[in-house]
Symmetry: none
Subunit: 351 residues, 4 copies
């Protein structure tokens, strides 16, 4: 069997997850690593035995052998690169969020359609084992009528790279909502089988680092701070979403004056409720015949990046859209944009 030749564009923090998964997958070979900083691409190429590197993704688009690319670049470049790749006939797996606004997302989707190519988004929690177990329970009716989902992605002091691209809206499209909320919202919509969204209301705040030097923290991911940079994104978001299924309420914070981080999703049904610690286990709360139960399931955890990449390759080879196709993920971007809109106008948005 001929292996699918792929390229990974962007060699920053997230890229090794893609590279490892492609390397482990017997149906693919990585032919190119691309990064505008040549040493980043070269270092990873050496480690993972990738034959070619380049600083300009355009140079590899003419390569007929290249069938698919992963895009791991900053958010503001997703649309431009994805569209160029799709127009060159490549299949694309683009890291989340799809893009920095709906206009770009729609253009990406249009490019996939006109070129009849796969466009997947890196909403990797759709491949998380716990999430899929929960989805299975919901599908089986084990939770009964799921009438509400509470979603909490609140940290104490976790603003990433203060003053850098993460905190500059023109580059990132937003803060905690677009960076963390995308995962939570997307996995909720997935678990609920993509309910229709009716209304979206929300408020975002940019509080704890509005004067960057006043921001006290212990560690900083993607740090240290650049006090000459920009901080114009949300570090807090609250929202309420009505759907054709359950309502969803959410509170999220990159940084907030709280004690313990509170990062979990609760699916509340009339027969049972599930609380999932993000990235960890879940607990089932149920009641039957006069007895209340608290159940902690254990199961083999699959590697969610491997599964995501394998699903992408399967789509590429079979031309069948999968769970992380732009068709399914689009709504996640729509809701995030609606929250930003609702926050600006101070009232609910009807989709």
């Amino acid at each position: 069997m001929e292996k699918v030749k792929v390229a990974v564009i962007g060699c920053g923090t997230i890229s090794p997850n893609h590279i490892k998964a492609y390397t482990k997958n017997e149906r693919t070979d990585i032919k190119y690593l691309v990064d505008i900083r040549p040493e980043r691409a070269k270092k990873l190429a050496e480690k993972f035995h990738v034959p070619h590197t380049t600083t300009d993704f355009r140079e590899i688009l003419h390569d007929k052998e290249l069938e698919a690319v992963s895009i791991c670049t900053p958010n503001d470049t997703h649309a431009k690169i994805a569209i160029a790749c799709l127009d060159a006939g490549k299949h694309v797996l683009c890291e989340k969020p799809a893009a920095i606004n709906m206009k770009q997302v729609n253009e990406m989707k249009a490019a996939a359609e006109r070129n009849k190519r796969i466009l997947n988004i890196g909403v990797v929690n759709r491949y998380n084992t716990a999430v899929n177990k929960i989805k299975e329970m919901i599908d089986n009716g084990d939770l009964g009528n799921v009438y509400h989902v509470y979603c909490s992605f609140r940290a104490h002091r976790s603003i990433p790279g203060l003053g850098g691209p993460f905190t500059t809206k023109s580059k990132s499209g937003g803060g905690v909502l677009i960076d963390w909320g995308v995962h939570y919202l997307d996995l909720i919509f997935y678990s609920l089988n993509q309910p229709k969204i009716l209304t979206v209301s929300g408020t975002t705040h940019s509080e704890l680092a509005k004067n960057m030097k006043d921001y006290t923290y212990i560690n900083m991911w993607a740090g240290p701070p650049d006090y000459t940079g920009t901080y114009d994104v949300d570090d807090f978001v609250t929202g309420l979403i009505r759907t054709s299924g359950p309502t969803i309420s959410l509170n999220g914070a990159w940084a907030q004056n709280i004690g313990e981080p509170a990062t979990f999703v609760e699916f509340l049904g009339d027969k049972a409720g599930v609380k999932w610690q993000y990235g960890g286990n879940f607990t089932v709360y149920s009641a039957k015949d006069g007895v209340l139960y608290e159940t902690i399931p254990a199961y083999a955890q699959k590697d969610m990046f491997y599964e995501e990449i394998d699903g992408f390759i399967q789509s590429v080879m079979s031309d069948m859209k999968s769970r992380s196709n732009i068709d399914n993920v689009l709504v996640t971007s729509e809701v995030m944009e609606a929250i930003y809109t609702s926050s600006e106008q101070g009232s609910e948005v009807t989709l």
Copy 2:
């Protein structure tokens, strides 16, 4: 000094809090206890040395010596009794919620105004020591800009008196929102110095006992269940409120498939955040000069019912409105009604 003569109307579960506080207070004497079930009034009268009891509150209204009454009857009777007492020239302290809908609340307020009498509502948390310490911190600017309040009044299995007045909307006006939420919302508005409410969005559900016999529980306050009765009230509510100050998000449940109860309020400021465990202590989370602090204050706890009653008597004697006057508490009822309306119409309400 002449002591203020008072009556307590309704001798159920809440009434001993009023009776003890009047008894302890050197400025008042209880002259009457009233209950439609004569043995309930007599038992308490004996215990607390109250001279008179009756089954009909109308009988005592002609007594010129009687200056003030506490109303501790079921929610659906608040308006009728309060208005009759006010019209008879008595000052009134009415248990929370003020009434079962805004129409009644407005009528009560009008009766207080036309008779120039005090009408206080039993929002006793306005006299809780912790709440007042937190309010003091907010007023002093210790929390900086308070940009969000998260309010959680969620229990696991606490539906009271299933099938009885608590769960019958025509008697109670509603379920968890009107029974518990009234305390939380009211103390939040108090702590924030009564901000103007802009928008209210919410959804209520009646899920865990919609088939009463399916409701599994461990203990039942005001129980046991009456399976021939009615269950048509909310056991879950979620909401989002925009104000002239912070946004407020809330999740409340009398019963829900969760583990631990989550009953707390978080006041989130840019300088510090406070988490108050309902009925208990609070913790302050702050940061300064590169250090993060978690602080647990301890302080002498005042008896909040004593303070509430003393504040009422002070108002009666001085004719000065106090923090729990209907003027201040009205908005709490307005917001609750707006949540019910928003839930029914499936969209946000603008006040």
Copy 3:
């Protein structure tokens, strides 16, 4: 910039802390590792890319390029090696305790002075972040008048290397007092800004392993026991120290029939008190305006060995004495010797 060339003499358990810190420091290069057992030096040299090893520290003293040494050998060799190095013109960082008695300590100090070289002692807690935060609070007056310090370094079963050098007074100079107490006393004197010591009273005991085979334990650091060896050191010490500032009371044990280890220092002031868990966080207990506060600060932890080594190199390059110079640490040895003397004579010692 020319890097400072250093040697580490003694390649036992403590030495990697020095080697890592020198390696990480951009202002130094390790030129030699020295140990009488050649394989110990070679193994570390390979791991940390050190060019030379030797078994005799005298061989490297003629090397003009070598500016500074760390001494990580057993206690009884500190004085001899330090004096030889100082006399050869090298700057010295000598592990704690300075030496096994004051006679040796004074000779070391004299050698530093006559050669005009830096002699630092490895009292690494002077570079612990928590200790310095506490010192800062004391200096700022946040604790008010610090009138007492209680110092507890009590373990359940922690005699190290029973029958070996640790428990042989001629090699170690003493037991728990000199091995653990040195850290606690030194950091207390440092935090209090080196108060004048007035009186010292104490008693030491050698109890739990006086018959070595009777000593029951679970784990043994630097073990296993050598029942042919010697056990003639203190496994318990109690003491009371008067200073120009607060009094200090102490209880310390390598082994004792207690439950939980109790290893902490309490700084007791009239405005606030601090309890520091050795090696961990601290809590501040304070009171103001009728409220009692318990505060747990969080802060970025610096690597104390890195800071210690960097401070030493700074001293070497600038010729400025620092906080861990023998001038400041001498008193710690004096107090320990006074406790041993007080114990022997059964009465208080006046310094």
Copy 4:
């Protein structure tokens, strides 16, 4: 059998313990209750059916039938009343501390001897069941060589009756040492079979209420504060005591900036150690044949006040001195006075 007729002089907080024990004891009858405030004596006389009350203890001394008295008056009156009673031929049980200084204690002892009467001191912990179980273990050799006792009587905020007799040295003789320390020291000396005291070193401080209005507290026993009163006693004491047996170290505080109260005694032996929570249970820590044991004994608790009174009556009837006779308890006062002396002079005292 003729019952022993007794009087209780002083009807404050401690007296009901005596009155109840005499009432319960079949060998005694209370004939008089005495208090300078007549209503205090009368109230208790009514409750416990005592036939006579008076305001002046001198009035009852002529009563031949009266054989024994309990003295429960403030510390500064102990000596005067006890000596008068002894000189009138009565046996005396005097509440602790014996008196406010050694001069008075010695005069009391002399009065007992010249009149050949029993003089017991109310060191009630000598009758505590746990204390006696521990003493039994020590006597049996279960702890091996008891080489150290650590004694901690430290509270957070427990100054009693600020500004009243408790905090006025001329009335109380001292603060936490004489009020709480007397119990701890006395029970330690009792448990150790009255070892000879060799040296005493200590320091006392009066810190947390030196400016009375600055003292923040939650509750106050024997309160509320009298800000016009005096605060000139110790609220903290530290000490080190050498005896013919173990050394004893102690830290005690009525009030201190700590978290949890720490009120316990540890008896540390080479075979086993005991930790007794004051007023509660004890735990035994031992080791044998390679196994470490933590043992919590349970046993029937006797009423220590009953036992104390019964022992006193037994002495009165048999003319045999018992464990709480002044002969045994004298040393406790000596050590306390020595600690005060040592603190004043800043050096150790040799007894």
